[in-house]
């Protein structure tokens, strides 16, 4: 796996995700500065990490989405390259037009930092092949604006095409209003692009990869990617 983690001013989980990538694949990812115009040669996975790029000012992810490196990220995605955006990374992908919809203020209007349960909706993707479809995982969230919103037509398409990979649920996998921590439409926690190669998700699988730190429920996502890239 040749992963590139993009670092924007205000990114703050780039080290967390680099650690998870290295732990699961054995390879250190390249850290790529937002002002660069090209990805390292041979990059097969681009990761947009969590954080508050540009302070989350204006709209979360808006300024980062227009950074120089994003043209290279778009080109990588257009070629069918894998892209993972977590939290602020998801917001950036939406602002950059690589994923549909927007992430708005949590319905509680408060920042939410705690463990949540996610139902894994599909297992036949490069991001989730090491999970079983319908599995419930426990990972943390830490965001103020994770309330996913899209217009009706987009939402219908996302559902019809099976592009929702993760939903907020309870420990038994039941999705209800009370498990939907931020008010997201259809309790959406993560979606993929129409070719299934770009994933944006609000929760932080990278923070649950160590048995002594929370749990290891997030690990399989990175193992899935490593495996997908190995067998590709």
């Amino acid at each position: 796996m040749k992963a590139a983690v993009i670092v924007f001013p205000g990114s703050n989980r780039e080290r967390d995700i680099a650690y998870a990538l290295e732990l699961t694949s054995g390879v250190k990812p390249a850290m790529v500065w937002h002002g660069d115009s090209a990805l390292p040669a041979g990059t097969d996975l681009v990761v947009l990490p969590g954080g508050f790029s540009y302070g989350d000012y204006l709209r979360c992810g808006a300024i980062a989405a227009r950074a120089a490196i994003m043209d290279a990220v778009r080109a990588h995605a257009a070629k069918g390259g894998l892209v993972l955006g977590v939290c602020n990374g998801f917001q950036i992908l939406c602002e950059a037009g690589l994923l549909p919809g927007v992430l708005m203020r949590n319905s509680s209007l408060k920042f939410i930092a705690r463990n949540v349960h996610l139902r894994v909706e599909r297992s036949n993707t490069p991001f989730t092949r090491r999970y079983n479809a319908g599995a419930v995982i426990e990972v943390p969230v830490a965001h103020g604006e994770g309330n996913y919103i899209a217009d009706d037509e987009t939402l219908k398409r996302l559902e019809a095409e099976g592009r929702v990979l993760f939903r907020y649920s309870d420990a038994a996998g039941t999705v209800s209003q009370s498990s939907n921590i931020n008010g997201a439409m259809n309790a959406i926690a993560g979606i993929v692009s129409d070719n299934g190669r770009v994933l944006g998700m609000m929760p932080h699988p990278e923070n649950h990869v160590d048995p002594s730190i929370g749990s290891t429920d997030g690990r399989a996502l990175f193992e899935s990617l490593a495996e997908a890239l190995e067998t590709a």
Partner: protein, 79 residues
């Protein structure tokens, strides 16, 4: 030259913040406000004196950055 850009959500786009404010106003005992939608304003200062050039710059700023035209509309006023 001074200008103001007002960015508002398109009709039909859900505004969770506005909804939450509606609720908060009720619980604060402020009555009579039925609906709230939140938007943004940007007060700009421009160096040049050419109005057309200023408008073009502001329009570019809106399209490229200030508004997310998927869900937002904008309006420019030169003051």
């Amino acid at each position: 030259m001074k200008a103001r850009v007002t960015v508002t959500l398109k009709t039909g786009v859900l505004d969770p913040q506005g909804k939450a404010i509606e609720g908060a106003l009720k619980s604060l005992g402020v009555d009579g406000i039925d609906s709230v939608r939140q938007g943004k304003v940007f007060d700009l200062e421009l160096g040049g004196a050419d109005k057309a050039a200023a408008e073009a710059a502001i329009k570019a700023a809106c399209d490229k950055l200030l508004a997310n035209t998927v869900v937002e509309n904008y309006r420019i006023e030169i003051l």
